[in-house]
C-alpha cells in the first residue's frame, strides 16, 4: 500500500497538519506501475554491443589519428591544407578517416542518447533533445563523408 495514493496535492499556504499533509518528496521520475511487456526487439542489446565493438576499433583509429596529428612530424604545426591533401591522396587514409568518422559519430551519438534518456525528466524534453541529437549526428556524418569523398586537392 503506498501512502502516495492518499496524499492530497494541495500545497496551500495553510499550516500542514495530520489532516492536511504536505506532498511527499517524490524522486524526479517515479517508476510507472505498468508491468513491462517484453519489447521483443533486441535494439538495446545491439546498441550495447555496438558500443563495445566500436570502442575497440576506435581505440586503434582514434589513438592512431591523434598520434599522427599531434605527435609525429612536429605535431599540430605541420597541419595545414597541404598536409590534409597529402594524406587523403591515399585511399588507405581515406578509409581510415571514413570509418573513424562513422564509428565515432554513431558511438558518440548512441552514448549521448543514453545520457539524454537518463537526465531528461519530461517526456517532451527527452523527445526534442533526441531529435536535435539525431539531426546533428546525421548532418555531421553526411557532411564528413561528403568532404572525404569529394575532396579535391586542386581546389586552389
Amino acid at each position: 500500500m503506498s501512502a502516495t495514493d492518499h496524499v492530497e496535492l494541495s500545497s496551500s499556504s495553510a499550516a500542514y497538519g495530520p489532516d492536511n499533509p504536505a506532498p511527499v518528496i517524490e524522486p524526479p521520475r517515479a517508476r510507472t506501475k505498468r508491468t513491462p511487456r517484453s519489447t521483443r526487439t533486441n535494439f538495446e542489446m545491439y546498441g550495447w554491443l555496438f558500443m563495445r565493438l566500436s570502442g575497440i576499433v576506435l581505440v586503434v583509429l582514434v589513438i592512431g589519428h591523434l598520434l599522427i596529428q599531434l605527435v609525429l612530424d612536429g605535431g599540430v604545426t605541420k597541419v595545414g591544407f597541404a598536409f590534409v591533401a597529402g594524406r587523403w591522396a591515399s585511399p588507405f587514409w581515406q578509409t581510415w578517416d571514413l570509418i573513424m568518422l562513422w564509428l565515432a559519430m554513431l558511438h558518440g551519438g548512441n552514448g549521448l542518447r543514453t545520457v539524454i534518456n537518463d537526465y531528461a525528466e519530461r517526456d517532451n524534453t527527452r523527445f526534442w533533445l533526441k531529435m536535435v541529437l539525431y539531426t546533428a549526428t546525421a548532418f555531421t556524418i553526411i557532411l564528413g563523408t561528403l568532404v572525404i569523398f569529394t575532396f579535391d586537392p586542386n581546389i586552389r
Binding site: M1, S2, A3, H6, P18, D19, P21
Partner: protein
C-alpha cells in the same frame, strides 16, 4: 475507517503465514495482513535447518523423529501432533524444494542433511543427520521461497498493517470469529477486515527479554489480541533460551555451528558439556546446554573479566568448512565483535529465543476457547500457536518444520471453512476498542515513557524469569510487571501524527508485551516443577504426578473492571511414548 470483506484473512506473513496463504489463496479470496513487508519477517533470521527424516545421508525414520521431539519437549508434547509433525515433515521439505528452495546438496544431488541438537538415531543412540539446510540461512531461504510463491500465486498482501484486535461475536452461545481490526501504518487509518476465517501467524513474543535473538517487532500482538478477548493462552511459562547468543547482544549463532563440530569451552578451555551430557555433549537439547552454561558461569568458570560468558570454539574447523556451511554467523562475529572465528573463539551467552507456548490449537490449526471447544473461523499456526508439538522445550529445526506443516494445515482448514460458511455478523462499532486505544494514547499527557517501561520490563524478565527461576524471583517479576502495567496507563507518545507513527505503535506493542509477560510469570509461578525450558531451582525435578499437563491461562475481568489471570490445566495427549527420565 474502512471495511473490507475477505473469505480468509491471514495475520502475519512469516513462514507460517505465507505457507497458509499459498494454500488459502488457491481456495478462497484471501488477504494477508502483515506489519512488516513479508520478506522482513523473522523467519528469515532462522539459520540452522529444518528437520525431516528424509534419510538422504543416513538411516532415519519419522518415528525416531517423533520420539526425539517428545523427549526434547520433556514429555509435555501432545504426541498425536508430534506424530503428524514428523510424518508430514518429509513432504513439507520436498514441497519447499519443489517451490524452488535451494537446499545444500549431497554429492548425489539430493538434499543434504546435518546434525542438530536433540535429534538422534533409534531413540537416543547417537546423533543423526536430520536437518535439511541451506548454508546457515535456511530460514532466509524458506521465507524468500514462500514469498516468491506468493508472488506466483498472486497473494494479496496488505503490507504494514498492524492487526490490533480480534473481533469475536457470540452466535447461539458459540464464540465465533468475525474478523480483525487493523491499523495502517502509512496513514494511521483503521481498517476492519470482515472474514469468514482468520488465521493468526504473527510470530513470537521474545521482546519482553533484553538479551534475545528475536526481532524488535516480535511483540506478541497476535497472542495479546485473542487473549484480551477472553481466549486462553497455553504453556506460556515455557520459553526457550538458546545457548549460543552473541555475548550481550543476543544475536543468534546457530546450533548448526555445534552440529558442524563447534565446541563450548569455559575459561579453562575445558569442554564442559562432557560433564552434563556424556553422549550428545554439545548437541544436547537447548535447555540442558543453556543451564550448563549458566552453571559454569555461576561456579566461576565463566570467561572474561566479569566471568559472564563462555566460548563457542570453531577454531579447529577448517576455514573452508566455515565458509561453506556457516558463512553468515562467522560474519556476525566479525561485524559485531571484531573477532576472527578462524582463529578466535566467540564469546556467547544464552539468549531468549522461542516461545513454546501460545494460542492453543488442535492439529488442524483451529483455535480452542477452552480445553476442547473450537472457536469457529479462528485458526493459528507458527510460533504464535501452541499445538503443542514443542512441549516444554522445542528441538532445534522443529520450528521451521512447524510453520510449514501447521501453516499449511491451517491455511487449508481456514479456506475450507470459509468455503462452506457464511460471514459472522459484525458487531456494532467493531473497531471501537482500537479507536479508543489509539485515541487514548495520542491524547495522553501522562509522564511515563514507553522506552523506560520497556527497559524495566526487559530487565526484570532477564533477571527473574530466565534460565533459572525460583518462587522468589518469579514473584519479584510478577510484582514488577504489575507496577509497570499500572504505570503504562500513564504512558504518552510524542508523535501525535497519523502517518508512520511508529511511536504510537511501540506504545501499543509494549502494552501487549506487558500482558503476555504477566501471563508468562503467573504461569511459571504456578508450575512448581522443572521441565524443559522451565527450570525452578526450588523444584529441580520433573513432577509428572502433578504437572504432566498444559497450563491454560485466561484473562478474567471482574465486575469492578479489575483484571486477573485464571489458570486452568489441560491433559497432555500421550499415544505411544511413556515419560522417561531425560538424559543426553
Amino acid at each position: 475507517m474502512q471495511i473490507h470483506k475477505y473469505d480468509t484473512v491471514i495475520v502475519g506473513a512469516g513462514g507460517a503465514g505465507m505457507r497458509a496463504a499459498i494454500e488459502a489463496t488457491k481456495r478462497s479470496r484471501t488477504a494477508v495482513l502483515t506489519k512488516l513487508y513479508p520478506t522482513r519477517s523473522h523467519t528469515g533470521a532462522a539459520q540452522g535447518g529444518m528437520a525431516a527424516a528424509l534419510a538422504n545421508v543416513e538411516d532415519d525414520n519419522w518415528e525416531w523423529h517423533t520420539f526425539d521431539t517428545i523427549k526434547g519437549g520433556d514429555y509435555l508434547v501432545d504426541q498425536d501432533a508430534a506424530e503428524i509433525l514428523a510424518k508430514e515433515a518429509i513432504d513439507a521439505v520436498l514441497d519447499l524444494e519443489k517451490m524452488g528452495l535451494p537446499f545444500n546438496r549431497t554429492p548425489e544431488g539430493r538434499i543434504d542433511q546435518r546434525r542438530f541438537g536433540g535429534h538422534s538415531r533409534n531413540h537416543g543412540e547417537a546423533p543423526v543427520r536430520r536437518a535439511c539446510y541451506a548454508a546457515d540461512r535456511t530460514g532466509h531461504m524458506i521465507l524468500q521461497t514462500l514469498y516468491q510463491n506468493c508472488v506466483k500465486e498472486g497473494v494479496e498482501f496488505f503490507n504494514e498493517f498492524y492487526v490490533l484486535d480480534q473481533i469475536l461475536v457470540e452466535e447461539d452461545g458459540v464464540k465465533k470469529s468475525a474478523g480483525v481490526v487493523a491499523y495502517e501504518l502509512a496513514t494511521g487509518e483503521i481498517h476492519v477486515f470482515q472474514a469468514k476465517a482468520v488465521v493468526y501467524a504473527s510470530g513470537g513474543t521474545g521482546k519482553f527479554f533484553k538479551v534475545t535473538s528475536n526481532a524488535h517487532t516480535l511483540t506478541g500482538d497476535g497472542q495479546a489480541a485473542v487473549y484480551r478477548r477472553g481466549l486462553p493462552l497455553e504453556d506460556m511459562e515455557f520459553f526457550q533460551f538458546h545457548p549460543t547468543g552473541i555475548w550481550r547482544m543476543g544475536i543468534l549463532l546457530t546450533e548448526g555451528a555445534r552440529g558442524e563440530g563447534g565446541i563450548l569451552r569455559n575459561k579453562d578451555g575445558e569442554r564442559f558439556m562432557e560433564k552434563y551430557a556424556p553422549v550428545m555433549k554439545d548437541l544436547a537439547s537447548r535447555d540442558v546446554v543453556s543451564r550448563a552454561i549458566y552453571t559454569e558461569i555461576r561456579e566461576g568458570r565463566g570467561c572474561g573479566p566479569e566471568g559472564d560468558h563462555v566460548y563457542l570454539d570453531l577454531t579447529h574447523l577448517p576455514p573452508e568448512q566455515l565458509d561453506a556451511k556457516l558463512p553468515d554467523i562467522t560474519e556476525f562475529a566479525r561485524t559485531y565483535l571484531g573477532i576472527e572465528p578462524y582463529t578466535d573463539p566467540i564469546p556467547i551467552q544464552p539468549t531468549a529465543h522461542y516461545a513454546m507456548g501460545g494460542i492453543p490449537t488442535n492439529v488442524e490449526g483451529e483455535v480452542l476457547s477452552d480445553n476442547t471447544t473450537v472457536v469457529p473461523g479462528l485458526y493459528a499456526a507458527g510460533e504464535v500457536a501452541c499445538v503443542s508439538v514443542h512441549g516444554a522445550n522445542r528441538l532445534g529445526t522443529n520450528s521451521l518444520l512447524d510453520i510449514n506443516v501447521f501453516g499449511r494445515r491451517a491455511g487449508i482448514a481456514a479456506a475450507e471453512y470459509s468455503a462452506d460458511h457464511d460471514y459472522a455478523e459484525l458487531p456494532e462499532a467493531p473497531a471501537q476498542f482500537v479507536v479508543d486505544q489509539v485515541e487514548r494514547l495520542r491524547a495522553s499527557t501522562g509522564n511515563e515513557r514507553v522506552a523506560q517501561l520497556r527497559k524495566e520490563l526487559q530487565e526484570t524478565m532477564d533477571a527473574n524469569v530466565m534460565v533459572f527461576r525460583t518462587e522468589q524471583t518469579i514473584k519479584t517479576a510478577v510484582e514488577k510487571i504489575g507496577e509497570l502495567r499500572a504505570r503504562y496507563r500513564n504512558v504518552s507518545v510524542q508523535d501525535k501524527g497519523k502517518r508512520f507513527n511508529t511511536d504510537l505503535l511501540e506504545a501499543i506493542e509494549l502494552g501487549n508485551l506487558l500482558d503476555l509477560a504477566e501471563v508468562m510469570a503467573v504461569s511459571a509461578l504456578a508450575r512448581k516443577e522443572s521441565r524443559g525450558g522451565h527450570y525452578r531451582e526450588d523444584y529441580p525435578n520433573r513432577d509428572d504426578v502433578n504437572f504432566m499437563r498444559h497450563t491454560m491461562a485466561y484473562r478474567e475481568v471482574g465486575a469492578d473492571g479489575a483484571e486477573s489471570i485464571r489458570l486452568d490445566y489441560k491433559p497432555v495427549v500421550q499415544t505411544r511414548y511413556q515419560p522417561m527420565e531425560r538424559k543426553y
